[in-house]
Structure formats: C-alpha cells, structure tokens
Symmetry: C2
Subunit: 365 residues, 2 copies
C-alpha cells in the first residue's frame, strides 16, 4: 500500500519512484552517512560521494550484466543531449565520410535524426510513418548501409507507446539504442549493442542524469567540436567527473539500483512489466470504449497508449481517474489520447486499480 | 544553531545549503503541494511544476533586478557545458570571423579559453599567470579587440580564491561573465553584461542545473553545430524545456530564492559576505602561521584561500578542524593549501567558529 495520501502516478517522466527510496532520500538530504551534512551538499570528490558513485556504477553493471569492455558514464543533458553527443562521438567512425542510419519509429527517433543531421549525413533506414508510428518498422524492411558509422534505434517510444520486442540484428554496424524509457525493465544482451543511453527520469530516478553505456572500441573518435562534457573518452577517463556531476541524481539512481536488486533484479522487473502491461492491454482488447492503436507485436510494456472511441468522455475520464487517486494519464499533446506509464516503480496494485477503474468507467459511461 | 549533528561545511561545491530549505525539501520529496506525489516525480509540464518554475524564475529576476530585455534559462551541463555553449551561441556575432577575448585569472578561465578554441579564435586579452593567478589582471593591461564577439571573464575563481571587486568596463563588446561561485552574493547591474552564467552547486542548490542570463540581442546567432539543448533561442522560446529539465534542481533553486528573499535579498547577502570574509582575512593578516597569497584587491569573498607556512601542520589542521565540526577546508588539488568557501548558506556562526579554531590552532601549534 502507498503511504498515506500518496496516489498512483502514471506520468511518463519525471515519473513515480519507489516509496522506500523516497523515504531514505528524505532523511539523507538532511544528514547522510554520519558526516554531518546532507547528500546534496557533499563534494563529488569526497570519499563519501565517490563510494556512493562506485556502488551505483557496480550495481548497474551487475543488474544489466554489462561486459568489462564497456564503459558506463553518468552525464548531463538528457536523451536530447545525447542525440547530439552520439553523432559527435561516432560520426568519425564512418569509412566514407560522416553518415549514420536511423530506424524511425516515432517522435523520439524523429528528434534524434534531426539532431544528428547537424553532424553528418543521416539515412532513414526504415520508418513506420506510413503506419502513423503504430508499430516498429519490420526488420526485413530495413535498408542498412555498410558505410554508416552506426544504426540508431529507440527501443521504446514513450510518446507513441511502441516498443521493440527484442534486440534487432544489424550485422557488424554498431547498434545505438535509446533505452530511456525501458532500461532495466527487460534482460538484454549488452554485448549486442555499441551504445546504450537513457535519461534517468523514467525508470531510474530524478531528471538530470543520463546514463551512457559504450563499448570500448567506440570511444576516442570524437569530432573536434565535441564539448568536453560529452567527450566519452574524457569522461570515461575521469569517472564522469570532468565537470561537477549531478551528484544528487546519481545518489538517487544508486538507491533505485539497490532497490531493484532487493526486488529481484531485472528478471523480476521483466516479469512484472509483462504482467502489468498485459493487465491493461487485456482491458483494452475487451473494450468497446477504449481503442488501442499500436500493433500487437509492437505494444510497449512501459507506456500503454489508447484512445476513447467517444472523445467527449476525454475530460471526464481524466477527472474521475484523478478523483479515484490516479494521475498522469493524459497522452502526449502531439498524439492525444491517454497513456499509462508503467515503469518499474509502479506497483502492480496501481495497475490493478487503474484496470478496475477503466472497466467501471466503461460500464458507467 | 545548526540542527542536531549538523556540522559546518566549507566545501566549494556542491556546498552547504540553507537548513530550512533542506527541511522543506525533506517533506516535499515525499508529498508535494497536496498532489499525492513527491516533487521529483511530477511532470515538468504539470501545472504544479510550471508554477514552481515560474515562481523560481520571477524570484531570480526580482533578486537580481534582471531587466526585461534579458532571458533567464535553466539549462544542464554546468559551467563547463556553457564553456562550449557560449562560443557556439556567440562566435557567429564576430564581424571578421569567429573570435573572442578572454581575461585569464585562474583555473576556470583557462578551461573556458581551451573549450572556446574549438569554435573560433581565442585571444588572451590579459592574464595574471605571471602573478601565479594571485590577482585579477589589472583593467589597464587588457588588450581588447573590437573584432571579438565577446569578452569572457570569471568574476570569482573558485580554485584560486580570486574575485573581481566590481564589474569591469569593456566598452561596446558584450561582456560574458562566469558567476558560478558568486551569483547572488553582490548587487550587480545586469544591464552591463551580455551574458551571465552560473552552475547552481555553489550559491544556489544541488549540482545539475545551470543558470544562463542573456541579453535578447545575443540570442539567435547559434552556429549550426549547436546542440538543441544549448541553443539559447530554442530554449528561451520553450521555457528551458526543449528537453526534460532537471526539475528537482530547479525546485531546490526556487526554494533557495525564496529563502534569500526572506533573509533580505542580495543586499543583505553582500553585507554578510563582506562580514564573513573579512573575519577570516583578518585572522590571516594577523597570523604568522597562515599565509594568504591572493593580492588584497583581488581577494574573494566566496573562497578564502590560504597556506600554512609550516606545511607539516597540513594534515593536523584538517583533522582537528574536522573534529571541531568543520569540513571541506582542503584546497583544490591543483593549488594545495586550504580553502574556506563562504557561500550565502554558510551562517556567520560557522565562520566565527572557524576563525576561533584557526586562532587557537595557531596558538597550540
């Protein structure tokens, strides 16, 4: 049960966090580890913070089974920052001039390709635009170029609610994946990726820290215009502290990693993500009011999107769900409809509460 | 008096924060404004957060008396990020090709000039390197070029403990000032600057948000390679939310701004900064053990640096000051010695405690 007066928050990010992590943080921002100051007030070079950082790093490596030939960076600027940093760091790898491939599956990959175009040639290897981004482009439709430095995909499109069901095979070209909204929700084989990146504010912690996991051979090719804080080689050699890191956000991420381990790790999160999302999709599939538009094989386990066939009920749905103790259900303004975000910190009880509300709302409507 | 078990934290950043702000945050991260969720968990687009952001913005405008022809941005990437973003946004203004002037007064301006060199020609208009950066270069030694897009200064060098005593006159060229470590500690005439910028983790709040104050006519000249999250025009048109902002860090900054207003605003902080720093400098000037090296006219009110003439006492000073309830006094590794950072949130009682300890330590030593 949530603590008193706490509601179920289905916001897409910044998003709900584990209650016990918040309880711990509530104390630690006043006094932390017996050092007489709060966790936000401590130098990033202090042994207390360096231990906190190393523990967070190791726990993430353990949780994701990150191989030793990868570096893990805690940077700033979010996913949109890395949309620039990735081409800056990788375009130099392309044999025949700077070029990269993009698999366009929604709002996020559209942003990524627009940003990368500042730093080299961008190729649309595949797109599901014709399908209104209600699916991931089928793998056999992808037109990959051997001359590209990398292939960029977004494993989970937060706005559309579209998710890759597995890691695609892209041959020898480095696979770059935006996993901002599904990191730590499914077991993946990190060795199949060149670069993984994620803003923290969905499955990890507060907005303000960005995790980048990069294979060693992809480090050291930054364009001369790359800002120091995004030069992966420099940051990897400096514990991500060439600038003052977002210490509190890293502390919070570390607390979430500890919580994830205690809860059973990524395997358990994968199991719960399937259970939680299936609960809602089953309501949608049995409904004549709710309309799920995403193709079944591309349905996101993290962001369940749907429309009301009777649009006049839109405001009433939001109002009544809010009165029933659930917020954050309004879809992104660019696509409309509803969206329930089911990140790791959303308890099953919250999803059961929403499923029940949705069934009753349909009955009443 | 600090709350129980709280020590005096003289760290240079992340740094001590006002106790009552921490107490408020400790509650708000669990439940905020009656919305049933904590402040870190709420969408940046929610009315609750937008109100928080607007209030923080307006309070900063009030505190600094920022004229209406300036935009205030809350970005990510810290001061070192802006070391890249500033030339990216301004170099295009130079009449005869990208060029900027730098007044080099220590570690921070050395970093700024190295970063800017990626985006255009950099000129050392003046430097105090010959003086070991123990002073700000005298204004009459500056060789400014009318062809430069801007002149960059660092108003307070955190590492060296060197501070401009007033805003220099640079004629018609836009003055860009790094005020990371003395923002809100002195009344300044914002209209004399083109750009002011500051990482938050010294005088404002937790690391992870960077404040940029920029005159309207300097917006809209970004180089094509400028990352979207640092394009001031785009961020100014989007309430600094073209990417998910560091919401919690902005909330914290807003709470500190409210606290500053209640405490008497910038005028009162200026008065207290003078009083606190004079207290320590007077100990240094009367001592035969402590050696202040910064020239009197360039002494920082924020970071008081000094050496021990008997270097063998270094570790003992740190150990005994820590036992007496004071931490964060070790100088930056690149310069050694001691440093006491006296940001706005450091109470006078903390400085009195340190002054007394230093006198007694010298007597005993």
């Amino acid at each position: 049960m949530p603590f008193e007066n706490r509601i179920y928050n289905f916001a897409p990010g910044p998003a709900t966090l584990p209650e016990e992590v918040l309880q711990t943080a509530s104390k630690d921002i006043l006094l932390w580890q017996g050092i007489g100051a709060g966790v936000m007030e401590i130098s990033h070079r202090s042994s207390a913070f360096m231990n906190c950082y190393q523990e967070a790093l190791q726990n993430l490596i353990d949780l994701m089974k990150i191989p030793p030939n990868y570096k893990v960076l805690f940077l700033q600027g979010g996913g949109i920052g890395q949309n620039a940093a990735i081409p800056m760091n990788l375009m130099g790898l392309a044999k025949a001039g700077p070029q990269a491939d993009f698999v366009v599956s929604g709002v996020w990959t559209q942003k990524s390709i627009a940003e990368a175009a500042k730093y080299g040639q961008v190729r649309v290897a595949a797109t599901s635009k014709e399908e209104h981004f209600y699916c991931v482009p089928k793998r056999d439709s992808w037109d990959l170029s051997p001359d590209s430095a990398y292939v960029h995909i977004c494993e989970n499109e937060t706005v559309g609610g579209v998710e890759f069901s597995s890691t695609p095979d892209v041959g020898g070209v480095p696979l770059v994946a935006d996993i901002s909204s599904n990191i730590l929700s499914r077991e993946i084989d990190v060795s199949r990726y060149g670069v993984l990146f994620a803003g923290a504010q969905k499955n990890i912690g507060p907005a303000g820290v960005t995790i980048v996991i990069v294979r060693d051979d992809l480090i050291g090719h930054a364009l001369p215009i790359t800002p120091t804080i995004w030069d992966w080689k420099i940051q990897a050699a400096n514990d991500s502290m060439i600038n003052t890191p977002a210490t509190f956000a890293i502390y919070m991420a570390g607390e979430v990693f500890k919580w994830l381990k205690k809860e059973g790790g990524v395997a358990q999160m994968e199991k719960m993500s399937a259970q939680k999302s299936q609960l809602l999709y089953s309501v949608l599939d049995q409904s004549s009011l709710y309309e799920p538009r995403v193709h079944k094989d591309s349905r996101s386990r993290m962001n369940v999107t749907f429309y009301l066939r009777d649009e006049s009920l839109f405001d009433r749905f939001l109002k009544e769900s809010s009165e029933a103790g659930m917020i954050g259900l309004k879809g992104h303004k660019s696509v409309g409809g509803m969206r329930a975000s089911l990140y790791n910190a959303m308890p099953l009880a919250g999803v059961e509460c929403l499923a029940q509300f949705m069934r009753e709302f349909e009955r009443r409507a």
